[in-house]
């Protein structure tokens, strides 16, 4: 059964590592639904959040292969109920559209969105939320003319009481070196 999984990868900051990670998707012809990369709370350690639709067997093997990469510290997968996640979306509309009616203002309030910048020509609205929410706002705004629309990849945080990465790292560093 196919379902949505969020993969979290912690890694060293090495050039080419993104390639090494995505290769595992390419060879299985898996489409990456969303991908974000940024430095984690620990300096020098990077966090990848990858969303993918696949079967359970695939995700298990996939995550093992990712974790096997030398510079990957840890990789795991989570189901939607195990995470809190957000995406950010930005919408550019013509300021004239906003001024002609007060409906847009109502939509912004209703969606808890906010205005980031307003010029004579255009207005940029920002909304964070799940894909369905940002999509819905897009559809609501569309009749008034959306000049540009972007959505970020997912950022996610676990609901699970997992071992903290910093503790895990300490454990790794204190581990006796094992030769061969």
């Amino acid at each position: 059964m196919y379902q949505e999984y969020t993969i979290t990868v912690f890694s060293e900051n090495h050039i080419g590592l993104l390639n090494r990670i995505t290769l595992n998707f390419t060879r299985r012809k898996l489409n990456i639904d969303s991908l974000t990369v940024s430095e984690s709370a620990i300096k020098g350690i990077y966090k990848f959040t990858i969303v993918v639709y696949c079967s359970k067997q695939t995700i298990i093997n996939l995550v093992k292969q990712i974790e096997k990469q030398i510079d990957v510290i840890r990789a795991f997968y989570l189901t939607p109920d195990e995470i809190l996640h957000q995406e950010i979306a930005m919408y550019k509309i013509a300021t004239s559209a906003l001024l002609e009616t007060n409906e847009i203002e109502g939509i912004i309030r209703q969606f808890n969105a906010r205005i980031l910048e307003m010029t004579k020509g255009y207005t940029v609205i920002e909304k964070t939320g799940h894909k369905a929410e940002t999509q819905e706002l897009f559809e609501k705004l569309q009749p008034y003319g959306v000049l540009q629309f972007v959505r970020s990849g997912r950022v996610a945080i676990t609901r699970l009481k997992k071992e903290l990465l910093s503790n895990y790292l300490r454990k790794l560093e204190n581990k006796q070196s094992v030769l061969v």
Partner: protein, 582 residues
């Protein structure tokens, strides 16, 4: 890259000396005891070769010039496989580096420790489509365990140290280091420290105590256990530990292609090879067994046949060093992670002595049937042409197992693996996972350097031999006493066999003309002779072994011989075809 240099700057300056990047590379190789390099020079790697000349004159390093970069990497693989050391090869940028890829992919699938160094254009030219520039780091990424581009001379010592550590530790594999020309030419303060730990890399996973206990319980209670040996046993150097386990438990043993020679062929509990062209008894018994003990093997599809019907009655224990292999193809009941050289003796200590006589004896009828329907005909053909099996029997009778068998890929490979008498450990060098035609001849070159005191016999086919026959030049140049046997059937035999069995005998592009291999060898100054008949074979084999130089036999074998028995692709392993069915 970034962290590399960060750690690098902290080395003690007082112990260091000022050298160029090229010299640092060679000094690092000496520190890693990598004395033999297989390679091919070219523009971007010239600074390294220039320095190498000095080191060769001082007998500190030895460079073997192959005739193609693919030859260099296969030779490094052959070297690594027989010696247990890490193979090293050099190539230049662009085409030189790209020519290594097949061998790197082969080493990746067969877990062979090799470290490749490739030249690269000056760092300021990177990304500019400079002459002989290719993104070898990008190209090799899917087939290397690790790779790295060195752009600064002072990155070299640690990059090399990491490369050797990663290639050899845990589940071994190929590593590629790409060096820009300026990194070779610039100077650095050289000091060398071997790497024995990388934070993000756990080469040997922890073994869980309860897995031990479960494994022991399953082994003690099994009535029909079968041990499946893979190359993991050989890579761990656990041949002795395997024998002790088997002798105590009395469990019959079967081997994958690459696991051959972990246990001598003549061991009373050895039941043969698994898989598509394996032996009947272990394949049939896989599906009767109530316990499979997988020792350093990965349930390749050539071994399992149809996965859904594989070993339906068996509990499974998987001894494995690579966590990602567990439950990949076959779900197992117990996974004993760790280095098998350490884990297996612990199990041996805890399990009960046993002999499984009835179970072991139940293999015999299948063995006899295979003998009657296939083996006897293959080894002792009574009509006209020489068979491939007959040639292998002759090698066995002449040498009594005192040789390392190197094969190419195809029918001859399966026949040689089936019938060769494996007596000593590490006595098979063959391309398993990737099935690389052209592997044999250069691998034999490397094997001779890796085991100079052993007899190295290459068994190749007329197709595969022609893929890398330029390495005859390397053999001739180094006067390497490699014994080459080309089994010529004028066909790409394995593909032709499949065409006969599964494609209505439509022999598309499998009939192949070859040069006269004996004349070809003589053009390189290598002795050889043709063998057409059974009688000639015996005598030619004597001359082959009595000669202390390289020697080539071109054996003209039956044109349409087939390898049987076989598990047709996608069929259950206990449905073997003998080839005599009507």
């Amino acid at each position: 890259m970034e962290t590399l240099t960060k750690e690098k700057t902290e080395v003690q300056k007082d112990k260091s000396i000022r050298v160029t990047g090229s010299e640092a590379l060679l000094m690092a190789l000496i520190a890693e005891e990598a004395k033999i390099i297989f390679g091919y020079p070219g523009g971007a790697i010239m600074p390294v070769y220039d320095k190498l000349m000095d080191y060769e004159l001082q007998h500190k390093l030895k460079h073997i010039l192959t005739r193609h970069e693919q030859g260099a990497i296969h030779a490094a693989q052959g070297f690594a496989r027989v010696s247990g050391k890490t193979g090293v090869c050099f190539a230049t940028s662009g085409p030189g580096a790209a020519n290594l890829i097949t061998g790197i992919a082969d080493a990746f699938l067969d877990s062979t420790p090799v470290v490749c160094f490739t030249g690269q254009v000056y760092s300021h030219l990177l990304g500019s489509d400079a002459f002989q520039e290719t993104d070898i780091v990008g190209i090799s990424m899917p087939v290397t365990k690790w790779n790295f581009q060195v752009r600064r001379a002072d990155e070299i010592p640690e990059a090399v140290a990491k490369a050797f550590y990663i290639a050899k530790s845990g589940r071994p594999g190929p590593v590629l280091i790409d060096l820009t020309k300026d990194a070779m030419l610039n100077e650095l303060d050289f000091s060398y420290k071997k790497v024995d730990k990388i934070r993000s890399y756990i080469p040997v996973p922890e073994t869980k105590q309860y897995e031990f206990e479960k494994a022991v319980e399953l082994i003690n209670s099994a009535k029909k256990p079968l041990a499946l040996v893979g190359q993991g046993v050989i890579l761990a150097g656990a041949e002795k530990e395997l024998e002790e386990f088997v002798d105590k438990t009395g469990i019959p043993v079967a081997s994958t292609l690459l696991g051959l020679s972990a246990l001598p062929s003549e061991h009373p509990l050895f039941t043969g090879m698994l898989g598509m062209h394996g032996n009947v008894a272990p394949n049939v018994k896989t599906n009767e067994a109530d316990l499979l003990i997988a020792l350093g093997m990965r349930f390749d599809d050539r071994v399992t046949g149809k996965v859904d019907t594989y070993a339906p009655n068996a509990k499974k224990i998987h001894f494995e060093i690579d966590k990602a292999e567990v439950n990949k193809i076959i779900n197992v009941d117990v996974a004993v992670l760790g280095n098998i050289k350490q884990t297996l003796p612990l199990i041996t200590n805890l399990v009960n002595e046993n002999c499984h006589e009835v179970w072991s004896n139940s293999f015999i009828p299948y063995k006899d049937e295979e003998k009657r329907r296939v083996i006897n005909k293959e080894l002792y053909p009574y009509n006209g042409k020489i068979s491939m099996g007959e040639v292998i029997r002759n090698i066995n009778e002449t040498l009594n197992g005192e040789a390392v068998l190197v094969t190419d890929v195809g029918q001859h490979q399966m026949i040689a693996s089936r019938y060769f008498n494996f007596k000593n450990k590490r006595s098979l060098v063959s391309s398993g996972g990737l099935g690389t035609m052209g592997f044999g001849l250069p691998a034999a070159v490397g094997a001779k350097f890796g085991a100079p005191d052993k007899n190295i016999v290459l068994v190749s086919g007329d197709g595969g031999f022609q893929m890398t026959l330029q390495e005859l030049g390397t053999i001739a140049h180094n006067k390497l006493p490699v014994k080459m046997i080309v089994l010529n059937n004028n066909y790409l035999g394995m593909v032709r066999q499949w065409q006969e069995l599964f494609f209505d005998e439509r022999y598309a592009s499998t009939s192949i003309t070859s040069p006269d291999f004996v004349v070809l060898a003589s053009a390189y100054g290598i002795k050889g002779e043709h063998v057409h008949s059974h009688n000639e074979l015996v005598e030619a084999m004597q001359r082959l072994w009595n000669c202390d130089e390289p020697y080539l036999l071109e054996v003209h074998v039956a044109k349409k011989g087939n390898v049987f028995p076989m598990v047709p692709a996608g069929a259950p392993v206990d449905r073997m075809v003998f080839g005599d069915e009507k």
